[in-house]
Symmetry: D2
Subunit: 140 residues, 4 copies
């Protein structure tokens, strides 16, 4: 496993909230990350759809780790801001968030990500994110 | 309790995810809603701050219910989109999201919301949201 | 020329501000629109880059017309909201905004758009937009 | 006139696009800026409302200069990203954008701004922005 993937997987493993909701890191390539989540009744809003905050959580982690995968070796990342459009009710047996780097800068990286609901092998786009992530260089 | 508050409290009670993270509906007035959340290790990201998705979850629910509190009696609401700026690390013993309606329209309502971390009685602004919510009139 | 293109070109022709800044409608296909703009000193901010508001103007019109190109025949469109990331200084001999429909709904359509600076035949990504557009059905 | 106001007024004076649309800097206080604009037919979209890009232009400049008014003395500012909600048709004899700093950071500052249409002495909220601005320290 390459250094950037190790770094992403290690950091993801420390995100206790990803464990809480049952999210898994599926794939990590330079500038692109995929996170998967199974549907659960405990993750829903009032209409039994996945809560927008849950969808946002996997989109945000996917964007952050896509940025981290191309960040300088000693950098960590922090989400600065994001915008999410909820395009369809978040229904599905499971969900996948796919993020890619749009522009990697020295200080700021911009990513986009889509979330899909999976049902009997069919994917349906349910949400999309545009996010700004900051490289944090630890100062010693 | 007035009709709008009953409606909001009933819907909030059906958001299983709010129960999962331990969020509580503190106050509901026409056009303004407050949601509180205790810190928990299971809600964190890699630096032991609250995950941005958790902060977003209470901001989103607060905005949705602020919109619902002024929506037509038979309407339900759905989040169309939101944008969140993460202003400071989400640290605190607990957190509160406060949403208010900025503009209530026939179809769309725009809300803003702030999230604060609470520590020994001090509040610190940690995130802010601008959100668009849609009124859904059930058709029979 | 097909009806959707006529409709888009007629509406664009009525946007006086597009004429003011010298923007041109380059192409209109179902769900995708391209707008071009020549650089001008009168369109700049303090560092002689194109003002972010000018870049946003062509991105917004491109998104609106991409939505209109797939809207019901009698519908007009109105921008509900948009988010823009400015990815690089907006320098170039000219600029092009390319919008595409991400999800067309009955009431709301979501589009994404990129803006590029053109210099000696090279394109450079300078900004990106995620936008929500509303179908307005005139009521008589 | 204090240094921060001089700095803002000098930079605004170099924004050729503000002159092009006829925008004026009304007031500059630490962390808050007001910009005014008269209605003009050459600034409109297809329904004779002010183009969303024009409203965005004065909101963006107001946010940038609110950030600059509290930035370190040698810093310049650059818009990183913004999100605008268009709340009502932009009609009026004139328009005013009022921005204020929400959180000033070392590298990034977050501002919010509202735009109002003015008609016979009445103000109507027409748009609202949430923006991220970056401090640029020139390196010599």
């Amino acid at each position: 496993m390459q250094a950037f993937e190790q770094k992403v997987r290690k950091s993801f493993g420390r995100q206790a909230f990803m464990t809480t909701i049952g999210a898994e890191l599926i794939s990590v390539t330079p500038g692109a990350v995929e996170i998967k989540l199974s549907f659960g009744r405990h993750l829903t809003q009032q209409n039994d759809f996945l809560h927008a905050g849950v969808i946002t959580s996997i989109l945000d982690s996917a964007c952050g780790y896509a940025a981290l995968s191309v960040a300088p070796e000693n950098a960590e990342v922090l989400s600065v801001e994001f915008k999410v459009n909820l395009l369809a009710p978040a229904v599905g047996e499971s969900f996948v968030a796919r993020a890619q780097v749009k522009k990697a800068g020295k200080t700021l990286t911009v990513c986009t990500a889509d979330a899909f609901g999976l049902n009997k092998g069919n994917e349906k786009l349910v949400a999309t994110m545009q996010a700004t992530i900051m490289n944090m260089i630890p100062q010693k």
